[in-house]
């Protein structure tokens, strides 16, 4: 038997094939006192089956209202290294692309001023620098900002927008997700850094309905690339898939949600008018099928985690919008959306909750989007609906 460890429970989690976060903390702890107390406090949590953190306090960067999450140990005497242990959210790069040098730069700064621990990435998409003390915050920021990095969002602000890898490496991207996200992030620096919204606001962009960024589930505004046109079928590639053993009828045709495909054993036909562009067939037969026509995006709004009214998925606001730089049409829409939210949103009311509370009509009228059946799965069922005077004039 080896000499007794200080962290017997966590040590268990160094075993097994999957890379161990405990080993990571230990690596940092070997040269960093904050990381060491993080490790020890965590061992205590494992022993006691409870966390030992406290929220809060107002900590931040001069001129910024966001980007820092204040955190304190509830056992500061026992774990002084994490008495204050705030995280710094650094705005990541579109598509999460890095060069080795840029990563080393981040590491160097963080070793100098923080715990030496980080998340690549936080679930919104920031680089999360995991823990430092209050007085280190300004130096950390100065180092990063002087080297071309800036903070991400936190609090009641625009949060760090993020996207799928899109046109950088994916054949299905209908929009330039990376550029859109970069452009929007640059444009709305103030909205991100100086919280002035009723609550947080997230934007995520996916290049197609596959949604590799989970935009539809966790963004107040979800941008999802699509096309108006048809799917080009390369019949020889279809034949090749069949030859390779794909059961095209079972795997493709039968799983098409709109039933718009026919396979006669040799060729594959798509009734494009009925296709809902769900991406199933294209994703399974990437060499044979290719969307063609006008490219653009569906703009959806409203998804969020369950607090307080229950989780929501984003729903369609604009069925189709062209998205090309400088993205003016989209930006104008976004500003109208924020204006509406600003006018009607309660404190800590997400956009989706607000629109659900006040109804789609007022919102559509305000932001200037027409009602369309694409916005709903199905029309209303109960006969209680309102009329405005202009409705009578219209008739």
């Amino acid at each position: 038997m080896s000499t007794e460890s200080d962290t017997p429970l966590l040590d268990e989690l160094e075993k097994g094939p999957f890379p161990s976060f405990v080993s990571e903390i230990k690596k940092a702890a070997a040269k960093n006192k904050m990381a060491l107390d993080e490790l020890k406090q965590l061992e205590k949590s494992y022993r006691d089956k409870r966390g030992y953190w406290k929220h809060g306090g107002i900590v931040g960067i001069r001129g910024y209202g966001s980007g820092i999450i204040g955190r304190h140990s509830s056992l500061p005497q026992e774990f002084p290294g994490v008495a204050d242990f705030h995280t710094v959210r650094v705005n990541s790069v579109s598509g999460f692309f890095y060069t080795s040098d840029s990563l080393r730069q981040i590491c160097d700064i963080w070793d100098r001023h923080g715990s030496g621990l980080l998340n690549m990435h936080g679930s919104t998409g920031d680089i999360i620098l995991l823990g430092t003390s209050t007085e280190k915050l300004e130096p950390v920021f100065a180092e990063f900002s002087s080297r071309g990095w800036d903070l991400g969002g936190s609090g009641s602000s625009l949060r760090t927008p993020s996207c799928c890898i899109g046109p950088a490496r994916c054949e299905w991207a209908n929009i330039d997700t990376l550029d859109i996200i970069y452009n929007l992030t640059q444009e709305f620096q103030d909205e991100m850094h100086r919280p002035a919204f009723p609550y947080k606001f997230k934007i995520k962009a996916a290049g197609c309905a596959v949604d590799c960024i989970g935009a539809i589930a966790r963004a107040d505004c979800s941008i999802i690339g699509t096309w108006r046109g048809h799917i080009v079928v390369d019949q020889s590639a279809v034949a090749e898939y069949a030859k390779q053993g794909m059961d095209i009828q079972a795997e493709i045709v039968n799983l098409c949600p709109t039933g718009c495909m026919v396979y006669d054993g040799r060729e594959l036909y798509i009734n494009d008018e009925d296709c809902s562009r769900c991406m199933h067939c294209i994703s399974r037969m990437t060499k044979a099928l290719r969307p063609a026509g006008e490219k653009g995006a569906t703009i959806l709004i409203g998804s969020k985690a369950p607090f307080v009214i229950g989780a929501t998925l984003s729903w369609v606001l604009v069925p189709f919008m062209k998205l090309e730089p400088p993205y003016d049409e989209f930006k104008a829409l976004l500003k109208k959306i924020w204006e509406y939210w600003d006018e009607h949103g309660k404190n800590r009311e997400r956009l989706g909750e607000l629109v659900i509370r006040r109804g789609m009509r007022e919102f559509l009228e305000f932001v200037g989007v027409k009602p369309s059946p694409q916005q709903v799965k199905e029309p209303r069922r109960d006969p209680f609906f309102y009329w405005k005077d202009e409705d009578f004039r219209r008739q």
Binding site: S102, L130, D179
Partner: protein, 356 residues
């Protein structure tokens, strides 16, 4: 001042400066890709050029040492280019086919887990847990490690009917996309907070504490200059603890995780779906939560055995029906499974057709 020159509102660096040259050249002109092995794929551009991707698992919580190691490997084989995926894996972006094999050998040497591409289990989206969050009712990283050790084969080799997206949220704030995952864990408390009246009096702002409660369970206790909590109304969300740390929500004897299943985010084949409660509660049992791992395995095995090719967990369950899902998994159906929240009525079975 000895600080470097501070700038504000410069925003993030431009992604264009971080793209490998072959990507810059073929940006937006990819034609198709092929999955060469569970951890390697190649994308073909219209120009005929290619980019290879080698994916390895990451615990997400990294030390600077490890990040530097990743950078060094990227330098050696990828011209210094790498990226992280939206599920926190690392992708080495290889422009020179000759580098593919040596890269993988070195990764194997260094015990990196290569895989996660295709119809498999990829990394588990998760959040802070006891590592950093005051709100956590469990540890996220530990659960992820325990699960991924168990499912390592599904990352590195074995196939499933389709991708299975796992997630862990360490409290009901659900910072992971738990609400739309194939199988996910969400940590819950099950007891109303204990009020430490003496500290509340001295530390907490009463109006904001009372306002924090979404169910209106908190009211002033004027005699004690503190607050009281109506146990029947409290749904153990911990919101009040965020505002007033003297309302002790952590309760080791009662905290643990619920398992949800059947969610997805993509619109392929069927609309995005919410995950649904399958196991209301399993006690925290660190460091390896064996009961949780077993319960998730049980669901995964049933899926692997029953789903048709390309069916996601939720699509499989909807095809066979939830009643059959409970039957074949042997999971107990109880009061907690029946929705009583905002849209409860939409989940009631308004049909005479169902399975026994």
């Amino acid at each position: 001042m000895d600080l470097p020159k501070r700038k504000t509102d410069i925003g993030p660096p431009n992604y264009r400066d971080f793209l490998p040259p072959v990507i810059s050249k073929n940006y937006g002109d990819w034609k198709y890709h092929e999955v060469l092995s569970p951890g390697v794929m190649v994308h073909h551009a219209g120009s005929g050029e290619k980019i290879w991707t080698v994916r390895v698992a990451s615990p997400r919580l990294l030390s600077t040492d490890t990040v530097r190691e990743l950078a060094d490997i990227a330098d050696k084989y990828c011209g210094g280019y790498l990226r992280f995926t939206t599920r926190n894996n690392v992708e080495f972006l290889v422009s020179d086919e000759a580098m593919l094999c040596p890269l993988q050998l070195e990764l194997n040497d260094k015990k990196y887990m290569i895989g996660g591409i295709g119809p498999r289990i990829s990394n588990i989206v998760h959040t802070q847990g006891w590592v950093h969050c005051h709100s956590a009712a469990t540890d996220a990283s530990g659960l992820v490690k325990a699960l991924m050790d168990e499912f390592a084969d599904y990352f590195t080799t074995k196939e499933l009917p389709n991708k299975v997206r796992l997630a862990v949220a360490c409290c009901t704030n659900m910072c992971g996309a738990v609400h739309c995952s194939d199988i996910a864990l969400v940590a819950i408390h099950r007891k109303a907070p204990k009020v430490n009246h003496d500290s509340v009096k001295n530390t907490c702002e009463l109006p904001s504490t009372i306002a924090a409660c979404p169910t209106g369970a908190i009211s002033p206790d004027s005699s004690k200059k503190s607050v009281k909590i109506n146990d029947d109304k409290c749904m153990y969300c911990g919101n009040c603890f965020t505002v007033c740390s003297c309302l002790e929500i952590n309760n080791p004897d009662f905290d643990g995780v619920a398992i949800v299943a059947g969610g997805k985010v993509g619109s392929l084949r069927s609309d995005p779906k919410f995950s649904r409660l399958v196991v209301p509660f399993i006690k925290n049992n660190p460091p390896r939560w064996p009961e949780v791992v077993e319960a998730v395995s049980n669901i995964l095995d049933a899926y692997a055995a029953g789903a048709k090719k390309h069916e996601r967990v939720g699509e499989w369950i909807e095809r066979i029906g939830w009643e059959k899902f409970f039957r074949i998994t042997g999971l107990k159906f109880t009061y907690q499974h029946i929705d009583d929240f905002t849209i409860a009525r939409e989940t009631f079975r308004t049909s005479a057709a169902f399975k026994w």
